[in-house]
């Protein structure tokens, strides 16, 4: 068995503020052989261990929203301090076709920013739909702009972009540019809606799900996607977010 299962200590080199409650931790070294959509289990000894999608791999970067004990402790980590990682874990996104629609809710923007970078580096066209509750909750808009992505914004209160949900603009984004595949990351409700929209548009979609990840190696069963959700989206039942995912392919 490889080192994949054990922890390596990574030292933080820089902390970037993304919004009120979200920080990106940039580390000193790369995460070898990792790709967009994969995650690491980040461990702070004595505090806890949680999964985080990689938002950069060379050097490693994690984008953390402060919502509870572990994420709070991570957002207090300063340059020079260490975080322990095991990974990369799971199966990430795979770029298919040449033109891509990325859909992110909340910190879902983080893994998608790495995917956008990969696609733009090889000259593919990328459209991004970012959704949040309010203007202040939106994040990484500038990063996607710098990469040369076409951007659509939605907010639930209408303080920026279109008032509503990401799914309200997906169809329009697809009409304006010919999209080959939809790649999404965000809360389960959003992913379900995006998956259904993709079915109507007859586009393949790659959806990155969250679940309670415990072992992270496909043994304990705690991260299984509910069977009814699998059946709704045409994912084969018994899907393990930690090992078969987090990215599930539909259509």
């Amino acid at each position: 068995m490889s080192r994949q299962g054990l922890f390596d200590a990574y030292r933080v080199s820089q902390v970037r503020v993304e919004n009120d409650r979200t920080r990106t931790l940039v580390f000193e070294s790369p995460l070898p052989e990792s790709y967009p959509g994969q995650y690491v289990m980040a461990w702070l000894p004595g505090i806890g261990e949680k999964p985080f999608s990689i938002s950069g791999n060379d050097p490693l970067a994690l984008t953390v929203a402060d919502v509870g004990p572990v994420s709070h402790a991570l957002s207090l980590v300063r340059p020079g301090e260490r975080v322990w990682m095991r990974g990369p874990l799971g199966k990430g996104y795979e770029l298919i076709s040449q033109s891509h629609l990325l859909v992110g809710g909340g910190y879902g923007a983080a893994p998608l920013s790495l995917l956008a970078r990969q696609a733009r580096t090889i000259g593919h066209s990328v459209t991004v739909v970012l959704g949040a509750k309010t203007r202040d909750d939106l994040m990484m808009v500038a990063a996607f702009e710098e990469l040369g992505c076409a951007i659509y914004l939605t907010t639930e209160d209408g303080s920026a972009g279109v008032r509503g949900l990401v799914t309200d603009v997906i169809e329009q984004a697809c009409m304006e540019q010919h999209q080959g595949c939809i790649y999404a990351c965000g809360p389960t409700g959003m992913l379900t809606a995006v998956g259904k929209a993709a079915q109507l548009l007859e586009l393949p979609a790659q959806l990155s799900f969250e679940a309670l990840i415990r072992c992270g190696v496909g043994l304990c069963g705690s991260c299984e996607l509910p069977e009814d959700l699998c059946l709704t989206l045409g994912i084969s039942p018994g899907f393990l977010v930690c090992h078969d995912g987090p990215v599930a392919r539909v259509n």
């Binding site: 068995m1 994949q4 299962g5 054990l6 922890f7 200590a9 289990m41 461990w43 000894p45 004595g46 806890g48 261990e49 949680k50 260490r82 322990w84 095991r86 415990r214 072992c215 992270g216 190696v217 496909g218 043994l219 304990c220 069963g221 705690s222 299984e224 069977e227 699998c230 084969s236 039942p237 018994g238 393990l240 090992h243 078969d244």
Partner: protein, 307 residues
């Protein structure tokens, strides 16, 4: 042509490979997935009297020698489990795969109670887990520690249900043969050996154990030689069929387990590498080994290394 068919108690399995308890045995869909992927039998995650969330992360790690875990017996409690097992049993039946339901309890009396509740789901066997190493701080010394306690649990469960029962033993006991003999005397129908080996990993840079629970159970390749020795010793003392479990990740490993005396072969940690597809791979490798070496049935290998 080499055949993998395995007779175990009154059951007929298409191959001897059984999903070990605690690995993906948490829902009907996951257990059906493992059966579809080629497991000959399925064991559910151990279930106790009350719902349990289990320990906090980190709860499991893969390292060079295999896996170490302290999941902490996460389960929905016996009442909820019965309906999951009902559903699972129906799905597995259509696939021709038997269901073994694993139970545990903190006290002697509760072993009987949980067994009685779970029996309602009519699993093909109840596997009695007296050997989880990860709950000692709450439940005290596991019942697998002495022949007297192991026998007492067996008696309690035997009295509670008429379904076949297998007692799941720990590797870290001084005289596993004597212990098994005591369990057999109380009416066990089979033995599952072994559970994980109590162990600890320390991260030197962090200066502390990596598991939140500090200690955990070791499984996978590092456990195999220990499991082979236990199975061989048990087979030499009792004539009960054995579900030999510990570190099996290839067809050759499975052959070794059968040659030590096992009738069925548990597979747990190996699921980490290939997912449930591991069952078809191990079955193919076992067939390949039998063809190569001239065995036509599993029975010809059983206990061979000890004769």
């Amino acid at each position: 042509m080499a055949g993998l068919a395995a007779d175990f108690l009154n059951l007929h399995l298409k191959n001897p490979l059984v999903l070990a308890s605690g690995i993906l045995g948490t829902s009907p869909s996951l257990m059906a997935r493992c059966a579809l992927a080629g497991a000959g039998g399925i064991t559910s995650k151990s279930c106790g009297p009350e719902p349990r969330a289990g320990h906090d992360n980190p709860v499991a790690l893969a390292w060079q020698g295999g896996v170490i875990n302290a999941i902490g017996l996460t389960n929905p409690g016996a009442q909820e489990e019965v309906s999951l097992l009902h559903e699972t049993r129906d799905r597995l039946k259509t696939l021709g795969v038997p269901l073994f339901a694993s139970i545990f309890a903190p006290t002697l009396e509760q072993f009987g109670e949980v067994a009685r509740v779970i029996a309602d789901a009519e699993p093909n066997l109840i596997e009695v887990n007296i050997s989880c190493p990860n709950v000692a701080s709450e439940f005290g010394t596991p019942f697998s520690a002495t022949a007297e306690m192991a026998a007492a649990v067996t008696r309690e469960v035997r009295r509670a249900v008429s379904l076949p029962i297998s007692i799941k033993l720990a590797p870290n006991v001084p005289m596993i043969g004597d212990l098994t003999h005591a369990v057999a005397e109380e009416g066990a129908d089979a033995i599952t050996a072994v559970n994980t080996m109590p162990a600890m990993l320390i991260d030197a840079y962090a200066g502390r154990p990596v598991l939140k629970n500090r200690t955990g159970g070791l499984s996978g390749p590092a456990l195999k030689p220990i499991a082979l020795r236990c199975v061989a010793e048990i087979a030499s003392r009792v004539s009960l069929p054995i579900i030999g479990t510990g570190g099996v990740s290839t067809g050759i490993d499975a052959a070794e387990m059968i040659m030590a005396g096992a009738t069925l072969v548990g597979v747990g940690s190996a699921v980490w590498e290939d997912g449930p597809a591991v069952f078809a791979r191990i079955a193919n490798e076992l067939t390949g080994f039998m063809v190569e070496t001239g065995y036509s049935q599993l029975g010809e290998m059983r206990g061979r290394a000890m004769r």
